[in-house]
Symmetry: C2
């Protein structure tokens, strides 16, 4: 099948498939007489694997490792688990950052009356003018 069909069936856009090939995440595809890329069910499986891993937020580099482990019949499941656990920790770090930002923002938004008047605690806090929140504890 050509790249468009592979894209439709895997959920990975054609442009992204070419990109994955260019960075070596997937091997160079077979070609037809007219120089069109030609994919089979095996390639499709790989694309779907990649798609699922990316949706779980794995970086492309990690997807590459996962693919290698997937193709290694003698792999240790511990290696996969370590990768996944590392990724969970990364997610936790990002969520904690977002939570901190959100807390501060919500606090500021609550104190801002948000009407036509110009005085605004949000800008004041960003400017560090008031000094009222420089030492919160």
């Amino acid at each position: 099948m050509n790249i468009g069909t592979a894209a439709a069936r895997s959920g990975v856009p054609a442009k992204t498939i070419r990109y994955y090939e260019s960075i070596g995440l997937i091997p160079r595809a077979a070609r037809t007489g007219g120089n069109y890329r030609d994919y089979d069910d095996n390639d499709l499986q790989t694309l779907r694997f990649i798609q699922r891993a990316r949706r779980l937020g794995f970086a492309v580099k990690d997807v590459s490792s996962l693919l290698a482990l997937w193709h290694d019949r003698g792999r240790a499941s511990g290696d996969v688990k370590r990768l996944a656990n590392g990724h969970i920790e990364e997610i936790d770090r990002r969520m904690e950052e977002l939570r901190t930002m959100r807390r501060t923002l919500v606090h500021l938004v609550e104190r801002c009356h948000g009407d036509h008047r110009p005085d605004c605690p949000i800008l004041e806090e960003l400017a560090g003018e008031g000094g009222c929140h420089k030492e919160p504890h």
Copy 2:
């Protein structure tokens, strides 16, 4: 003061200050005889403002809007609040994405014994082999 001092006092790295100037987030700095950038306390305040807004996760484009509002004495605080609320919503979207990923990952990791043996539910799920989770509900 020169860029290094401004960087130290604002918390924005010198390279980043130059970058902000290059994209027009801050105006072109004054120059000394030797072509060094020269900053005053006003510039410093702006850099600190930017730094705080960035730490709250505002995109540079939004920081630009916030700066404009900050400098506009007749602004409506409602405009600032709208920006902040939009940003909170964006944070909520990202957190929800992360939560979803995390849920799936934790579930998979729990089912993977993670030892030297090669069978691994994480890879099976990514490959879509088992089919046991294709229709979760």
